[in-house]
């Protein structure tokens, strides 16, 4: 920021204040967590919660009063606090990831097979054979099992829906080959013939 900038000092002071407030909030959170962790060990939950809250507020007020008086100390502290911040962020992120992953997996399991009860194969090792089939299919997303395979295995008729304009472009040759290999009945449906309505512009 150039020296000629009007209200330079005020702007810088404001920024410092914002930074300081954020640091304080983080410090409060951290201390609150520590107290909770210590309190959970022996004492009853209700009383601990109240004490911890009280301490947190007191600490927060004290820090406020310190910060208002000493700016230089804060600027030095901010760097040290930065490392703590990183640690905190990492901890938080890890927690979030764990939670998210857990939820995502559960969601997928529910939604992917909604309405379709899974039937294990006769061999008893359905999962492994599914993955093997998958590598044969070599779909675009080769790394993850396509959700359709289970449905395809279960059904006696595969209906390939093709665009009437360009049926060849909308075919799925690998899935067709799989159907022929497995002896499944299949059907091509040329969809989209007739008139199409579009918004004129």
């Amino acid at each position: 920021m150039p020296n000629s900038f009007p209200f330079k000092e005020e702007v810088l002071a404001e920024r410092e204040e914002v930074r300081r407030r954020r640091e304080e909030e983080r410090r409060k959170k951290k201390e609150g967590k520590k107290e909770e962790a210590e309190g959970n060990g022996n004492e009853a939950k209700g009383t601990n919660g109240v004490e911890a809250n009280g301490n947190g507020l007191k600490v927060g007020l004290q820090v406020d009063s310190d910060d208002e008086t000493t700016k230089e100390e804060d600027s030095d502290m901010s760097y040290e606090e930065g490392s703590d911040e990183d640690e905190e962020y990492l901890e938080e992120d890890e927690d979030v990831e764990e939670d998210d992953d857990g939820a995502a997996i559960e969601d997928n399991e529910e939604s992917e097979w909604e309405g379709i009860p899974s039937t294990p194969s006769e061999d008893g090792n359905g999962e492994i054979s599914d993955v093997d089939e998958l590598t044969e299919l070599n779909t675009a997303r080769n790394s993850a099992p396509p959700p359709h395979l289970k449905a395809m295995n279960r059904s006696d008729l595969l209906i390939f829906v093709l665009e009437a304009c360009a049926p060849e472009a909308t075919r799925l040759p690998d899935v067709e080959a799989w159907a022929q290999k497995k002896g499944k009945d299949a059907l091509f449906v040329l969809n989209g013939a007739g008139t199409h309505s579009f918004w004129s512009y």
């Binding site: 395809m152 059904s155 060849e168 799925l172 059907l187 199409h196």
Partner: protein
């Protein structure tokens, strides 16, 4: 094959004429049984009506299977077809999960769209994806097979002089570049480094996807003959 202006600013465009549909049905029947479904009343005299074609498909499904799975690329109309079969008028959103529906005694499973490992260069014109120069070359090849009047369609839509036609063995003739240069000039896609051909390709691609430029492909045997 006429443009029919309808109220509310919509136009109905005939996509595939009956003879082409018949040719495709014959070609694909050599691989698997094929049924063509008319999704709306046609401007041409097709041998089937939308309701009749649907009832044929429905009876075929119920005869052959207890469980059937609908497969195909995204936006080819799997869910819409299933809704038509179930006689439900639902404005369908892109399908993201497998869903099973009961069609009388048959269970029909609707699936999200699948892409083949190797994408066809004509797909952007069907799915409204971003088209590149390679895609336009594929379109030019389709138009070349279909005949001279399809070039004239392009010339009329973009109001440009006669396009050069592809000529075998002459590498200096590049109809794709010719078309894209004209489109880039018309739409002001010319920068310091010359016409922006990729930008022009996107324009042509979106016009094909929206139906402004009519096109369809012919089955391989017909193309050869």
């Amino acid at each position: 094959m006429e443009l029919v202006p309808t109220p509310f600013g919509r136009i109905d465009i005939e996509i595939v004429p009956p003879e082409v549909l018949q040719a495709w049905t014959e070609y694909l029947s050599s691989i698997f049984p094929t049924i063509s479904v008319l999704n709306s009343e046609s401007l041409h005299q097709h041998s089937l009506t939308p309701s009749k074609s649907l009832s044929i498909l429905k009876s075929k499904i119920q005869e052959t299977s207890k469980t059937a799975t609908l497969l195909g690329l995204p936006q080819v109309g799997k869910t819409s077809l299933l809704n038509d079969l179930r006689n439900r008028q639902v404005q369908s959103k892109p399908t993201s999960v497998l869903r099973a529906y009961q069609l009388d005694n048959t269970e029909v499973i609707d699936t999200p769209g699948t892409f083949p490992p190797k994408l066809n260069p004509l797909l952007p014109f069907l799915l409204g994806m971003k088209a590149s120069q390679e895609n336009i070359t594929a379109l030019i090849n389709v138009l070349d097979v279909m005949g001279d009047k399809w070039y004239k369609q392009l010339e009329e839509v973009y109001e440009m002089p006669a396009l050069v036609r592809p000529m075998k063995g002459n590498r200096f003739i590049n109809p794709t570049k010719d078309l894209l240069v004209h489109v880039a000039r018309k739409f002001g896609r010319v920068g310091r480094q010359g016409p922006n051909l990729e930008g022009a390709a996107e324009i042509v691609g979106s016009d094909c996807a929206s139906g402004k430029i009519k096109w369809w492909t012919l089955p391989p045997k017909t193309a050869e003959s």
